[in-house]
């Protein structure tokens, strides 16, 4: 009687200990993130004002100036890369979800897995060889091609996996009513998985927003405002890289400010993706 009692107490103590350990480790996991955010906000918030967001950069030795060219450039790169990657990625994802077996499907799947693992700098060099060399100039377009290649695997995979989760009964019901296969896919299956597809797209955008390496030899950078897709443009990560390695404390401060803007943007993307996934989820 006595032994079993102490045994239970021992078990309760063990249980508590493990709970404490798990909670502690979970907190430890978010500490790096909090530290990063704290550091960026602490160093970056001081330089952020209306001028910083809307003015062009000033050269060394002059005060003021901002990051408007990099903001516009980053937006342009994202829009262009999305225009390339979303149609391709979603269509490929639909195909893979519908065609579960077969040589082409498994080939595409393998390619996407390999593509996901290729370092971004390599993708940048490929885009340089394909687009920059053949066009004879650095351009926003070449940067977008590099970023689009990075977006593809994320979009394809999330589209495929979401559409796989759409119950077969929906498809069967549609087909039983005499709806054609193409219409079933486009009107029943894709809309049912739209939230998942959108989430995937937003995560893909969040992934490419902070990339510097593929832009070094493609989008190139530009201290002036340029909205021409065939000319070089600046981007936030590139600007942070350039400013952070300069000898001037003023430029270091601007790099922190640009980093804060970038982090806020990426976190906003991730947050929106979460909200979309939760709010608009189609219940089966």
């Amino acid at each position: 009687m006595h032994t079993s009692h102490s045994n239970i107490r021992l078990r309760i103590i063990k249980d508590r200990l493990f709970l404490a350990l798990v909670v502690l480790l979970s907190f430890a996991m978010i500490v790096p993130l909090l530290l990063i955010i704290f550091h960026i906000v602490k160093n970056g918030i001081g330089v952020i004002n209306w001028e910083f967001l809307t003015a062009l950069p000033r050269p060394m030795g002059e005060t003021g100036g901002g990051i408007a060219n990099a903001l516009a450039g980053t937006m342009m790169l994202i829009v262009l890369a999305s225009l390339i990657a979303i149609p391709l990625g979603v269509l490929a994802g639909i195909y893979l979800a519908e065609q579960k077996t077969g040589r082409i499907a498994s080939g595409v799947r393998l390619c996407m897995e390999v593509l996901q693992g290729i370092p971004s700098i390599v993708i940048g060099i490929v885009a340089y060889a394909w687009v920059v060399i053949s066009m004879g100039t650095f351009s926003a377009l070449s940067g977008s091609v590099a970023l689009a290649i990075m977006m593809l695997p994320v979009i394809v995979r999330s589209t495929e996996e979401t559409l796989r989760l759409v119950p077969d009964i929906l498809r069967e019901a549609s087909l039983a009513l005499g709806v054609s296969y193409a219409r079933t896919v486009l009107k029943i299956i894709v809309p049912s998985g739209l939230t998942g597809i959108l989430t995937g797209i937003l995560l893909a955008i969040a992934r490419i927003t902070g990339e510097t390496a593929p832009l070094l030899f493609t989008a190139f950078g530009n201290p002036y405002m340029s909205l021409n897709v065939l000319k070089p443009v600046d981007s936030l990560p590139l600007m942070i890289f350039n400013y952070a390695t300069s000898p001037y404390p003023e430029w270091h401060a601007k790099a922190w400010g640009a980093a804060l803007v970038l982090v806020v943007f990426v976190m906003g993307m991730n947050f929106t993706a979460k909200v979309i996934a939760k709010r608009w989820k189609v219940q089966f």
Binding site: R58, P59, L83, I133, G136, Y248, W280
Partner: protein, 349 residues
């Protein structure tokens, strides 16, 4: 939700349409890439040029080697380099290339010794410190050159660049010039097999590491030491005078005979007031500008820019701690610029 989606698509399409070329009159533009060291100077230079002449010059600091590479790939209008192109590189470029010097740089020896004493160094001391032969700050040979300096009994830790750099090229060019042993054991170049010491990336990396490690000694561009308020050593030049690195002593270092193509190393200068670890930085471009479908306007814009840098541009250098060109270099550079052609005809009259 369908409506929302349609709105998004319409918005994206409108944005894309706005970004298409030809929508507005194109401003004049020139594209350049290369050396990182003169980038702050160039950023000021090109901003002023845009305000005065309305030509947008986009210069990206991707490194000297990268700048030459992109010029050869014909993706930029001009390159920038701290290390002039050797004959072999010139031959690989396929067509003659012109070098226009824009300003001067210096590599200074910065250190972290408690109390920040002023230190003087001779060429042989620098060689022996970076070869690891002098291990303590209070070594007798250092004290002999610095009588009365308060140097502690502390180990010397040398710091060098881990990445390929024009700074290392100038520094090792100097050491190879003053020491046959260095030339044989380590040599000169953008990246080297260092006999000892710590490596750090970029000028900021070296400056940062020297600041953190007591007893450290490293080499950075003058402007980094000035901006980071770090002490730097006076160095004994060829004439036997200890020279403090400054804009003036760097410009003085270039006060030697300069060849007509300005491709010259001025380390270990014979100039009496010259700081010995100095070098030119250049902009490079093709002599014949009619290539890869370039217009005559572009060639004229480029030549005008170079001419402007040699004159008006020089006045902007000093305000940013860059040493302006000596008069002789400007004269030589003008002659080079005049030799630039479009379809065989001189661009600048």
């Amino acid at each position: 939700m369908k409506k929302a989606l349609l709105t998004v698509i319409a918005l994206v399409a409108a944005l894309a349409a706005a970004m298409l070329p030809g929508a507005r009159a194109e401003a004049k533009e020139l594209l350049g890439a290369g050396a990182t060291f003169p980038f702050p100077y160039y950023s000021k230079l090109f901003d002023t040029y845009n305000q005065e002449k309305g030509v947008k010059v986009n210069y990206q600091a991707i490194g000297s080697g990268g700048g030459i590479q992109q010029l050869k790939a014909k993706t930029v209008d001009f390159g920038g380099t701290d290390d002039f192109m050797k004959d072999k590189e010139m031959a690989e470029a396929g067509a003659p290339i012109l070098h226009i010097p824009t300003c001067l740089g210096a590599v200074v020896i910065t250190y972290n010794v408690p109390g920040d004493p002023a230190i003087k160094l001779t060429p042989s001391l620098i060689v022996d410190i970076f070869l690891g032969r002098i291990e303590k700050w209070n070594d007798k040979r250092i004290l002999d050159v610095n009588p009365g300096a308060q140097l502690p009994d502390m180990n010397i830790a040398t710091v060098h660049r881990s990445d390929g750099s024009g700074t290392t090229a100038i520094f090792s060019d100097y050491l190879s010039t003053v020491s046959a042993e260095w030339k044989e054991r380590v040599g000169a170049g953008k990246s080297l097999n260092w006999p000892n010491g710590l490596g750090a990336k970029g000028n900021p990396g070296v400056a940062g590491l020297v600041k953190q490690v007591p007893g450290a000694i490293g080499y950075v561009e003058l402007i980094y030491a000035v901006q980071n308020k770090m002490p730097y050593a006076d160095v004994k030049n060829k004439s036997g005078v200890f020279i403090k690195p400054s804009m003036k002593s760097v410009t003085a270092a270039a006060g030697v005979a300069i060849p007509d193509d300005t491709r010259v190393s001025i380390v270990n200068t014979a100039a009496k007031d010259g700081y010995p670890i100095s070098g030119f930085t250049w902009l490079v471009f093709y002599k014949e500008q009619n290539y890869a479908g370039r217009s005559k306007e572009k060639a004229t814009d480029l030549a005008n820019l170079m001419g402007w840098i040699l004159h008006e541009g020089q006045q902007l250098a000093e305000g940013l701690d860059y040493a302006p060109l000596p008069a002789e270099a400007v004269k030589k550079a003008e002659a080079i610029l005049k030799s630039a052609t479009y379809d065989g005809a001189s661009i600048v009259q």
